[in-house]
Amino acid sequence: MIIEVSGLRKDFTVTTKVGRLRRERTVVSAVDGVDLVVGRGELIGYIGPNGAGKSTTLKVLTGVLTPSAGRVRVCGLDPVADRTTLARRIGVVFGQRSQLWWDLPLGESFELLRHIYRVPAAEHAARLRTCSDLLDLDGFTRTPVRQLSLGQRMRGELTAALLHGPEVLFLDEPTIGLDVLSKQAVRGFLAELDRRGDTTVVLTTHDLADIEKLCERLVVIDHGRVVHDGTLDALHTRHGSRRTIVADLDAPWPAGQTVPGAAVTAVEADGTRVTLTLDGRAAGEVVAALARIVPLRDLSVQEPDIEDVVARIYRG
């Protein structure tokens, strides 16, 4: 297992003003007992609402933050004690923070990173070639980083994080603020990386399209605790993701009418359109029951949306 976390807790002391001069200190656990095991070559989505502890977890895993309690091993190393050794074996992209040299051309940043990570020139060149092909960097390697667009910069950051051939790649919101094309480029690149299978990827994101396209395994964290760890399908099942039926009717829906096996969640268009949420029963049974109550004109069955599922988990 390339990442092993058990009982991880990270506390912050928060000082709040009470009255004019008095200040009160309270301890807040940003991460509160997280257990996580990731195997080599996996790509996992680590998601949760703002302030759930996603970034904090990633920062502990990469050695940026010192954990308050718990055991953390990445590549078999303690991230804080073996920080510099670990740094050579992982790659990190924090969407909001740049790893590149602001005033230098992108290419020079790459060259500098080669020296910093002491990568043999040939290896470095080969990896740069691959990234450059997949991410289409050729147009802007001579541009100073400060003049790059966000999308170009993010492609640069991804390359920078991979040039030393890391075993694990940590990505914190890599698609945040990007235009549609850049998002597609980044997703395509990550999918390719996953397909090759020699890099483990831990991805946090708010973009549910990222998750649907990339992540087979999802870890959902809320209030500092893991609330789900499994596939996307398992998430749907477990959190009762429900299919809905929207039916257009030939006669108005009788007020207060119920349907066995489903809940009426909306009545619109003067009672001629009704939305039913299934409680797990087969759609056919419910449709049959529905048809016995009123004549149907049209009907559609909607699959559960991951956005709704996640929103439901977040709401508790």
């Binding site: 804080v80 005033d103 500098l112 910093i116």
Partner: protein, 266 residues
Amino acid sequence: MASARVYAHVVRAQIRSQAQYRASFLIDLFGSMAVNALDIATVFVLFSVTGGLGGFGGGPVLLMAALSAASFSLADMAVGTADRLREYVRSGQFDSLLLRPLSTLAQLVAVNFAFRRVGRVVQGLVLYVVALAVAGVHWTLGAAVLAVVAPLVGGVFFGSLFVAGATVAFWWIESGEVANAFTYGGRDFTSYPVTMFGGWFRDLFAIALGFAFVAYLPALALLDRPDPLGLPDWLRWCSPVVALVAACLAALFWRVGVRNYRSTGS
């Protein structure tokens, strides 16, 4: 040595970045040299009132001021930019230093290396050499070694203060001016004979904080003069030990600080 080459690459990259702003560079170079000259001039304006300071004549006063200037400017060039830590902590950019396989402190000063500060080092060292020539140094083998080592040792001492002062930002971001009291304040203190100060303030700065070991005591050793304050003679050879202790404490403090880093600002 291999890692020295890595830092050299980082410093060269930083100089290349700065070269894009040539006018600012020249302004900073000459501006900081002028301010530095003003500090030395202040010593001599006070000196000119009676032709002596704290019981010492021109030679010793020049030697102490020059040794202080050389030490301080060396430290300032090497690690003076550590005070940029404040911005790194405030913005969370310190993350990026922690993510690279190098020492965070070394990266911080290498990434912010200010080549313009070389001007002050040259200024300080030239003054020091002149002072050694005219101050009437009692040349022995020990004195010769001390003469070479003293500015470096003083530089390590001031460097430790710069680092320790910057480290406070891990807990207290608005701390900038407090550190100045000990770095720039220390520079002012060491530019003059310790005998000019009095009371608990002298004990605190000269002995407890160790500033007497930067210029005053080494100058007494070089000149082979008795200490009017009556400190034992062997103490004046202890500057390297004091600097080493200061450096270790600063390094330890830095480590504790890094562990307290909260990485906010994202």
